[in-house]
């Protein structure tokens, strides 16, 4: 699997670099339940990496391990060539890892703009006192961050809802706002937990286009969990397949489609 670590260029001209994140023999237990059993795989710089599997396969747990929220009992997480020590979520965010959630986690009462501004928190250096005085450094910083956020708003085409409270938005748009907030942090690695769950076909197409555009424009590495196989096959460069906490497949979408074990896991297999 680690044979192809040389940088290469995809057919559509995107550059895939070396290994950004390497998960080595990860095992995660909750009490007596083994959610993840001895899984190894890596994520390369600039690629779109999908994690798929039936319900309860341990996909979200895996994403939480990548994001540093869960600490695996066994195994190592290597980030940019060295072992990543246990970290607090804010420290992970400072490393350049941002995420969206399966169940939208936005501030419902705040406007879209304010929600996305929270994504810039790690880029604000001025202290409480300077913020209170406002004039000078704090103001300058706010303007810079706002400019960055506005570029994200423009990118995701959500100008029309800039001032709308998030609570008033339909589901599909909330998902897009969540993506905007993650993007505002300027992440190196973007983790998307079911970005298209509950969307209709048109919303899925929009979201797919945005994911590809993010990867293309900013070179952001993306790891995503998704159920819609069509979407996964179209979007991702490589796919990891999980079932009951085990890894049962890893490779390009075309390799995955023809993998017998994956087919069995998805379609079920006759028991004797």
């Amino acid at each position: 699997m680690n044979a192809m670590v040389d940088p290469y260029t995809t057919e559509d001209g995107r550059k895939i670099g070396g290994v950004l994140m390497d998960m080595r023999n990860i095992t995660l237990r909750f009490g007596g339940v083994e959610a993840i059993k001895d899984i190894s795989f890596n994520i390369r710089e600039g690629e779109i990496r999908a994690i798929i599997g039936p319900n309860g396969a341990g996909k979200s747990s895996m994403l939480n391990v990548i994001s540093g929220f869960y600490k695996p009992q066994e195994g190592e997480v290597h980030f940019r060539g060295s072992i990543r020590p246990p970290m607090k979520p804010y420290q992970v965010a400072r490393l350049g890892i941002a995420r969206t959630f399966q169940n939208i986690a936005l501030f419902e009462g705040m406007s879209v703009l304010d929600n996305i501004m929270t994504g810039r928190l790690n880029h604000m250096k001025t202290g409480l006192f300077a913020q209170a005085i406002w004039k000078g450094a704090a103001e300058k910083e706010e303007i810079e961050n706002r400019a960055h956020v506005e570029r994200v708003i423009d990118f995701l085409e959500i100008q029309a809802i800039r001032k709308t409270p998030v609570g008033r938005l339909p589901y599909g748009l909330k998902k897009r706002v969540e993506l905007a907030r993650a993007l505002a942090a300027d992440p190196k690695l973007l983790l998307l937990d079911e970005p298209m769950a509950g969307m209709n076909v048109e919303e899925k197409e929009d979201m797919s286009r945005f994911i590809l555009d993010v990867n293309d424009e900013f070179g952001t590495t993306i790891a995503l969990i998704e159920h819609d196989m069509g979407v996964v096959m179209d979007l991702s460069d490589r796919v990891v397949v999980m079932d009951y906490g085990r890894k049962i497949g890893d490779g390009t979408p075309s390799e995955i489609i023809s993998n017998q074990e994956v087919i069995d896991a998805y379609l079920g297999v006759a028991h004797d």
């Binding site: 400019a147 506005e150 708003i153 423009d154 100008q159 029309a160 424009e217």
Partner: protein, 654 residues
């Protein structure tokens, strides 16, 4: 009038730009909201941007007289491109941004465009789809680089790069000589008509057409450099060309471009234009929003709103027209302005509107009066591409919902025996591009142009009234004029009536089909505790029939007051058991009724209308959304309406 102006400072748009840069150099010429902030450009900054684009175009090798397509949403960059194209002696051809790829291909091929300046990736992709049909197309220039970074740039350039090249390598002397060479008779712009019949035709408008029209219409409404407009209607539409380029350059006012189509309402509020144009549909959407919000407001606010709106309806239009209104009424109106009208206008973004126009289709009197009663000077105009917009318009203080006004300055009108309206004006188009037959059949050698609309001059007001498209106007059996759309529009102004089809051509009296509006009637039924289970059932409910009957009687009364159309009163009507639908071929996709199809398909019902039977049983084939077909049958009541006696001039004459 024209000899004086030609070859002077005002003979072309680029020369007006130079004049504006000299006289209003530091005033804002353009604003666009981007990244959440209104960016603005003064006239002298705009002139520099335009020059840079023009110089860049010259380096691409544009020849004098080339057609260059412009496709995209309203953005300063694209407006500058239009003027830059004119500066180089070429002809800008704005196209609709939502046109399908083959429509764009047709236009590009028809005008032999070698270059296209487009807004964004969407337009680039669209042209790429049909590129192999367009061998003459050399280069595409785009304004917004988003998503285009990785495209093959051999025949693709960004507008910013083009400007850079222009600034560095452009031939300034050549550009100046091209600007100086322009005459009043050179082509200013070519616009494709929407082409409801057959292929679109390129309407060629000269500098004379555009600048004379801009001058006359600016004088008519006293437009000056202080006006603010919001440019949100399609750039390929002649109206936007006249408002955002013709009048804006003549008067020197500021053109504001919204951030995106969806933010138009919010941007409208922020800009607060002083001169505003919208088709009736936009005004209607605004009004519906207001009404829905008022229903959700607290009881005190709601009461206050309805109380003062009733008062505004009574005296508002009179105050606007400068008629005498009692002191008490005026005082109350002032209080209303403070409590209701002012805040409401602010919410609508219409606080500062000095002149508003609506056109395109008939506007309902209720809708029209609502805006006028708030003190918004909303007026109607009548025009078409071939006239460089203006044929007639309403002067301040003489505004009525059922006329379209007096001839615009410089326009002559005549009504043919057939009832068709003809005009002749300085704005009359030069020709249809490469289409001498169509030009000849539309414009006669003396310069009179047929509008295709039937109308007459209202005797009391002297205003023009448009009745219908001339091809829809027919004669009844006794020779009286039959104008179905005129009556149908009157019916459709009632919220309960969604659609109406009037029959009567070649017959002795008129009868009608009516479609109820299920939303409105359903609401009414709920309030009145009327239970129903289907569209069909509610449509035949005795109280619904009664309600529609009263609407028809009202319309009959109005129509009877009109001596030319009194015979178009509706004698009998049926409420149809299904909505007319484009899927069943009864309407076009743009929701225009196909009269002939409906008449044939429901022939049995039409027969029942005329043979006097009280009810009719019918069976109709319907197409479901998934394409399956089914049959619905119904027993329909045929109702009699009350008709005013026709004080027929025919009888008097005989």
């Amino acid at each position: 009038m024209t000899v004086v102006a030609s070859n002077t400072a005002h003979a072309s748009v680029p020369r007006l730009l130079a004049r504006n840069a000299a006289s209003f150099g530091s005033r804002a010429a353009y604003r666009e909201k981007e990244f959440g902030i209104w960016q603005s450009w003064t006239w002298s900054e705009a002139a520099k941007e335009v020059d840079a684009i023009a110089l860049g175009l010259l380096t691409l090798g544009v020849n004098k007289g080339d057609h260059i397509a412009i496709i995209g949403r309203n953005r300063p960059m694209l407006y500058w491109s239009i003027v830059a194209v004119q500066s180089t002696g070429c002809v800008p051809v704005p196209l609709y941004q939502d046109a399908a790829a083959d429509e764009v291909a047709y236009a590009l091929e028809n005008c032999n465009a070698r270059f296209a300046i487009v807004g964004d990736q969407e337009q680039v992709d669209k042209i790429a789809d049909v590129r192999d049909q367009l061998p003459m197309l050399q280069q595409i220039v785009y304004a917004d680089p988003k998503g285009l970074r990785k495209y093959d740039h051999t025949d693709l350039t960004s507008l910013a790069d083009l400007q850079d090249i222009g600034r560095k390598q452009g031939d300034k002397t050549l550009l100046q000589s091209r600007i100086d060479e322009a005459t009043y008779d050179d082509t200013c712009v070519m616009l494709y008509t929407s082409g409801t019949t057959g292929r679109p035709k390129g309407v060629v408008l000269s500098n004379r057409n555009v600048i004379e029209t801009a001058k006359n219409s600016s004088d008519f409404d006293n437009l000056s450099e202080v006006e603010e407009i919001l440019a949100y209607l399609p750039m390929a539409w002649v109206g936007d060309f006249i408002f955002s380029i013709g009048q804006a350059y003549w008067s020197g006012f500021c053109v504001n471009c919204p951030e995106s189509a969806e933010t138009m309402h919010a941007d409208l509020r922020e800009i607060g234009p002083t001169y505003f144009f919208a088709p009736p549909a936009v005004f209607e959407a605004h009004l519906t929003q207001v009404m829905i919000r008022m229903e959700d407001a607290s009881p005190i606010k709601r009461k206050m709103f309805h109380h003062f709106m009733a008062h505004a309806k009574k005296v508002g239009p009179k105050i606007l027209d400068g008629e005498t209104v009692g002191l008490l009424d005026r005082l109350k109106y002032t209080v209303g302005e403070f409590l209701v009208y002012g805040p409401l206008k602010n919410r609508l973004g219409l606080s500062r509107v000095r002149i508003g126009y609506t056109a395109g289709e008939a506007i309902g009197p209720e809708l029209f009066d609502f805006y006028r009663s708030l003190g918004i000077n909303l007026k109607q105009l009548y025009g078409q591409t071939e006239a460089t917009v203006f044929i007639t318009q309403q002067p301040d203080g003489q505004v009525r919902s059922d006329t379209v006004g007096v001839p615009s300055p410089g326009v002559e009108l005549k009504i043919a025996d057939s009832g068709e309206v003809f005009y002749r004006s300085p704005g009359t188009f030069v020709e249809y591009y490469n289409n001498p037959e169509s030009t000849a059949s539309t414009k006669d050698p003396e310069g009179w142009v047929a509008t295709g609309d039937a109308g007459f001059i209202d005797k009391t007001s002297g205003h023009l009234r448009i009745i219908d498209r001339i091809k829809d106007v027919g004669k009844m059996a006794d020779g009286a004029m039959f104008a179905p759309k005129y009556v149908e529009n009157k019916l459709k102004f009632f919220p309960n009536i969604l659609e109406a089809v009037v029959f009567g051509a070649g017959r002795d009296r008129c009868c009608a089909f009516v479609n109820i509006d299920l939303t409105a009637v359903g609401n009414w039924a709920e309030r009145n505790n009327i239970a129903y289970s289907s569209y069909q059932e509610i449509s035949q409910h005795p109280r619904v029939l009664e309600m529609i009957n009263s609407h028809i009687n009202e319309v009959n009364e109005i129509v009877a007051g009109d001596e030319m159309l009194a015979s178009c009163q509706i004698h009998r009507f049926v409420i149809l058991h299904k909505e007319l639908d484009a899927d069943d071929g009864e309407m076009t996709r743009t929701r225009k009724v196909r009269r002939a199809v409906v008449g044939e398909k429901f022939g049995d019902i039409v027969d029942a209308l005329y043979d006097g039977s009280p009810a009719v049983f019918t069976e109709t084939e319907v197409t479901y959304e998934d394409g399956r077909k089914g049959k619905i049958s119904a027993n329909l009541q045929v109702c009699d309406a009350s008709v005013k006696p026709v004080a027929s001039q025919k009888v008097a004459a005989e």
